[in-house]
């Protein structure tokens, strides 16, 4: 069996395996390995497995990932999530809904260091949730703002998903990061506006906290300058040419390590805990990448990506319609699936399609723009009902808040997301402007 039928069968089997709790990476590996054997023959499969795993894990450009994960671990250990939240709360807390806005701001800032949405939501949740409950914020607003704020983690660079997207589509990692900056800031501002609207409709959901004095504000700011310095060094250095992305991640991890020792009082036990955390997250990511590589090798052998891309070109659909269809599919898949696995699985199929369509931009711009859109849409999946992993995580930390209330709480943020996505689609310059300006 070859052609699209084989490819679709592979997808069906993959989805069935994933639906019955087989880990996503294992589902992709199993489908990929068996499919590869069926399409290419078993002895080629056995030969392929001899060195493939080694080469997948020893790729220079991918080594950026464990280093970023390590940087996030050290930054957490350095107490940066608390410091960033406090700084934001010192400036915004006295407004109605101000602590929820501070959560968004803290998430955006911490997301800048950390690469993962779930981790951002969980870490900030531990700091901000008790504070918001203390000031009688409603369960809906406090859990909703944190779940939504967590999705900023992946958009604001550095971000593991943006690294993977850049590698898969042969784009510059630094340019992807720069392209994500303005959409990331817009997302944070949009969420803050959503909070403002929320408390205007329900004034008792987010009462004002006492205002911080200017000396308190300055003290809170002082706690954060070091991590902001590290973040700036990594991003600017990567873009301006002091180092490759992997080197930038190493420099950032080293800086965060120093902070964790000096500021967070990290000792040997703490270091070991950071290494273990890094081990768990990195292994999870690399296993998914291995599975996706195997599945995509099988899929290419069936020629599905080429045929699908040809079909779409021949169908004469307008480029915008194709783009919207892909984004809708992402939104739907995002409801049930981990965002990184989803992108690893689908980008090899979709990016040649998108690159072949005419959006009035050159190929590089088109791919950068699509990458940001895809990541944004996938992230929205983290807070959409019925399955929103970020909502689950935060809700799990607030035992007294029913799940439906948390989902109610993310609604204003979802509306803000939808407006923002429309905006990014309509005006590619928002994404590409900074890249061009710095290019």
């Amino acid at each position: 069996m070859t052609g699209i039928a084989a490819g679709l069968t592979g997808f069906a089997v993959l989805l069935a395996l994933m639906a019955i709790r087989i880990p996503i990476a294992v589902s992709m590996l199993a489908t990929g390995v068996v499919g590869y054997g069926l399409v290419n023959g078993w002895s080629p499969l056995l030969a392929y497995l001899k060195t493939n795993t080694y080469y997948q894990f020893s790729t220079y450009s991918l080594s950026v990932i464990p280093l970023f994960v390590l940087m996030g671990e050290f930054a957490t250990r350095a107490g940066m999530s608390r410091a960033l939240y406090r700084a934001a709360a010192a400036f915004l807390g006295q407004m109605r809904g101000g602590l929820a806005m501070a959560s968004i701001g803290g998430c955006a800032a911490f997301g800048a260091i950390c690469g993962s949405s779930l981790a951002t939501a969980a870490t900030m949740g531990q700091v901000a949730l008790p504070e918001m409950r203390r000031y009688n914020y409603s369960g809906a607003l406090s859990t909703g703002s944190l779940a939504a704020g967590g999705t900023l983690g992946i958009l604001i660079p550095p971000s593991v998903i943006l690294v993977l997207y850049a590698l898969m589509t042969e784009q510059s990692i630094a340019k992807m990061f720069v392209a994500a900056m303005i959409p990331g800031v817009i997302a944070a501002v949009g969420y803050m506006i959503a909070v403002a609207v929320f408390v205007r409709l329900r004034p008792d959901a987010g009462p004002a906290a006492p205002a911080a004095s200017w000396s308190e504000r300055l003290a809170a700011l002082k706690e954060t300058w070091s991590i902001i310095l590290i973040f700036t060094l990594v991003i600017v250095g990567m873009y301006r040419g002091w180092f490759t992305p992997t080197e930038g991640a190493a420099v950032g991890a080293f800086g965060a390590f120093v902070l964790a020792v000096l500021h967070g009082g990290m000792r040997l036990q703490g270091l070991i805990a950071c290494l273990q955390g890094t081990a768990k997250t990195s292994a999870m990511i690399f296993l998914i990448m291995l599975g996706a590589e195997m599945f995509n090798a099988f899929l290419s052998a069936t020629q599905t990506p080429m045929l699908a891309s040809q079909m779409i070109v021949d169908s004469g659909l307008s480029p915008m319609l194709v783009l919207l269809a892909i984004l809708l599919l992402y939104l739907a898949m995002g409801c049930v699936m981990d965002s990184m696995s989803m992108l690893l699985l689908t980008i090899p199929i979709f990016y040649p399609i998108i690159a072949g369509l005419d959006f009035g931009m050159n190929r590089e711009d088109t791919l950068i723009w699509f990458g940001i859109l895809a990541v944004v849409v996938v992230e929205v999946g983290l807070i959409t009902p019925p399955v929103g992993m970020n909502v689950f995580v935060i809700n799990g930390m607030a035992r007294d808040v029913p799940m439906w209330e948390s989902f109610k709480g993310v609604m204003p943020f979802l509306i803000s997301d939808i407006i923002r996505i429309g905006f990014l689609i309509a005006f590619p310059v928002v994404t590409l402007g900074l890249v061009r300006a710095l290019g």
């Binding site: 880990p23 020893s58 220079y60 280093l67 870490t123 190493a250 081990a279 768990k280 690399f286 019925p386």
Partner: protein, 173 residues
């Protein structure tokens, strides 16, 4: 990342022998130290390059080699701590026994694939050895890395076996 674990989308915890947890933890720490070594070496190399125009020779290939060793060492720890994400949506409402049974099936699949990969990696490592493949600048024999990678893979297989047994035990209980 370290303190708060997502409560969903991960396998249920199962009882595993203490010595195995300790072993997996040590491999994770060894991999972590390799990663730390890569970090420090890279920082030194970047500093030397910026200040003196002379990076550490072979810095890129050391990162490649170290990255492979680290990731293989991380795999058993990820498995024993239930770190591999899964889709919870369709089985949320099923009872714990059903879910343990399904996760046992997942582990069985992983066990078979993992064993297949380990089995194939042995001739792969021997080819690296026999053909004398080396890194480009420092001429480090690639097969050296496999003295760590193969034991890590073997530990992964053992770990999956025990989590599989754990899920089966929980499903019967």
């Amino acid at each position: 990342m370290a303190e708060a674990e997502p409560l969903t989308e991960h396998p249920h915890p199962v009882p595993v022998p203490g010595w195995l947890v300790a072993l997996c933890r040590w491999f994770a720490v060894i991999g972590g130290l390799v990663l730390l070594g890569m970090m420090i070496m890279t920082v030194v190399s970047v500093t030397r390059r910026t200040l003196f125009g002379a990076p550490i020779p072979g810095d890129f290939e050391m990162v490649e080699l170290g990255s492979a060793i680290a990731v293989f060492c991380f795999l058993p720890w990820c498995q024993i701590t239930g770190g591999n994400v899964l889709v919870d949506f369709f089985t949320m409402k099923s009872g714990p026994r059903t879910n343990h049974l399904l996760e046992a099936l997942g582990d069985l699949t992983y066990l078979l694939i993992g064993a297949l990969i380990l089995w194939r990696m042995i001739p792969g490592a021997m080819e690296f050895h026999d053909y004398g493949e080396q890194t480009m600048v420092l001429r480090i024999p690639i097969w050296w890395a496999f003295t760590v990678i193969l034991p890590a893979m073997a530990l992964l297989i053992v770990t999956i076996f025990f989590t599989l047994a754990g899920h089966l035990k929980e499903a019967r209980a």
